[in-house]
Symmetry: D3
Subunit: 164 residues, 6 copies
């Protein structure tokens, strides 16, 4: 068990962008999610139905999609890669006054798109938080996590339920 | 209770960058945190002490600091603003094989720096995740939340304990 | 009449970012507009009323607001400057199957915000075009122009009607 | 006639980056143009011939070329894609004191490069405007439009003369 | 002599964006230079006088000016700050087939603009190199150095001649 | 010998992004270096061994790696291209109180990666300078140069020793 187990570090612990030159370009997909605990007041304002919730969802969705395209600029050791598809959706849960953000990213490339999906949900959630923070400061973004991943040498990976 | 309660939306629910022209430039500070549940293996590799953990913390810290400077580019309705100080620290907890990321941001300006602190911990955590994901795919980023905020008309706000 | 009349060029015709160090920081506002000639089919799809026009307006609005914040990065000789407010609105005209985009930008600074308003309408119009181009390739973006400007030494400027 | 006719929207009107995974990578070209109505004074200064027009054309050209590379960052639902060639030229017309900007973009990819050509002429025109606005505030950017497009399933498209 | 002597590191050697909250906003200026050793062939092509040297100088100048505006995005611990003026000039020396690049940057702010001037000459030189590298691969960029700095607590600093 | 010898200029001296559409995608590698003359005091602080040199090397390395990914955004006529690997290393020389920065970049593409390697060492060196400038203003970055290049039609190129 050496530092080299971290592929992003060389054998002396120094950061590098790992060489993916020998890897096959394959179809790859990743899905990630996050949960935003809005609290009663902010949840009511966004999803209450009596008001025009206006652009809240659209703005957050755009923020997430655009963030997926900025991953190489945000995460220091990530490879720049083309993206074939990005989708961001929101699932409100009135029982817990929370909303689940899900991002799905697909491409054909030599590295996976986990970071694109993870970053998309994170920034979509932060943009959502930004629009609600004047109403409720205690909002928490929870459980940013990979749900599913396919493509590449390691094949399909699926998060076990029971999760969190 | 109207859509206008969301200051980022006008009275017809349309997104806008809200006018801060009438606000005073005051000293402002915000502190946010996140927790990364690494699991035993990744935690041991990073914090085990027998190995050079090398650049993992430094790379994540730099990612967080740089992200604080990109907020206006990432969060659609945020105002661009100067930053006077950004600090990102990591607190490992061997009991839960997790690490807490804390970011503190200060400036003198017409809007607060919550989003800068929230974004800094989010991207620092994502960069950390990126370096560990080859070792452990199940890592979860939890509880991205504002801890403290001062400055501006609303004064000091502090998260209540018991929290997360 | 010398090349120096262009403040962005020195007396030998070389580009520079002109020195604004001696200028006063004053409240400044600029309003610009553009017209998108959609044609009957695309206009009907976006504004027809029978369908969810969904995110078309919201996505274009966000694109325009974010572009206002990127001006220093897009226009080589523009000064970076803070922005206090950005608004982007759309006015459909069913008679001409066109939509007018209007952007209003305000700040307190040492240079005006014309370029921010002009860039906001341009990119909002391009994003709108992007979403409609699969339906109609012949869409034209017309008459990107400054409407109004205030603040700074030159005071208020207003476009004459009849214009073009 | 459903919202789905807009490929950038799903069947519920939500924005997405449409999946291009099934499309062929083919040679693609797009040409777009814009016209800048400078007025007599600014036209004379730039193209009068007695003075060094210096860097005005070069700065605008560089702005346009660089903007073509930023399209994925500016237009929310555009796919990032490599570019094989970008050219930006200017055609002055002393009769109308105007200049036509033309951008040609080529690549081999799974989506077209219309947006790259359209954005290149728009930003080149805005940079041109920026350098001339101290001399003449009434300058108008007109008729940003696609001229020609080839490659991909839809083949060659050419704007009809008589145009607009 | 402790690590804290590096203001960018805290007392445990961790990177941070140092707090400039207590510093005065003063007028600040910095001038930096670099030398590009082109060799006979490339020098002759650019400065030979018989040919249109075209856009080489203008493109390099624009690259340098735009880079000054990107410093906060390139240099991890730099503070974002407004710029009042940026100039980039070139001084060819036919004796050594080399060209000296000089950048001058001015602002009023709480930190100096050394990094803006140093980055402007570096990127201007790299853009120059990029345009000449097909003609001569052996080009070397030499002596990127601060020439002069004023403003702030430390006052005026001037490089001693004889230098390097 | 015409202006066209500069492939980045057309036959009238106008800048363009040269068409690489006809070139083969091959494995390409480039290695560049720079030398930072720190002087005794700054060298001692960073490499003295008695103190935690902390994040200085890691921060500079990250800055260099991230800069390699920004080349298309910094160098006006460069093509955007994917990168397969980026490494940045530092070689201190206590005899001259200097440190050599070396960057190696690899990809499979239609253009070379010289600019990526040259830009990586330049920005890594500037970030290093930034952290040391409070201690020593006279630091000079010397000899930014290509060391080695392979791939593409021109094959292997190696800098001759005996310096330049």
């Amino acid at each position: 068990m050496t530092a080299g187990t971290f592929t992003h570090l060389d054998d002396r612990g120094r950061a590098r962008m790992v060489d993916v030159g020998g890897k096959q370009a394959t179809l790859r997909e990743a899905r990630a999610s996050a949960r935003i605990r809005l609290g009663e007041k902010a949840f009511g304002l966004v999803f209450g139905g009596e008001l025009p919730k206006g652009d809240v969802l659209a703005v957050s969705r755009v923020a997430g999609i655009m963030a997926a395209k900025k991953v190489a600029d945000l995460i220091p050791l990530c490879h720049p890669l083309p993206l074939h598809a990005v989708e961001v959706t929101f699932e409100p849960d009135s029982g817990s006054w929370s909303v689940r953000v899900v991002a799905t990213v697909r491409t054909k490339g030599v590295t996976g798109v986990e970071m694109e999906a993870m970053t998309a949900v994170s920034i979509a959630a932060l943009a959502f938080y930004d629009m609600c923070k004047a109403v409720e400061k205690g909002i928490v973004i929870e459980s940013i996590e990979l749900e599913y991943k396919s493509g590449g040498k390691s094949g399909v990976w699926q998060r076990q339920p029971a999760g969190e």
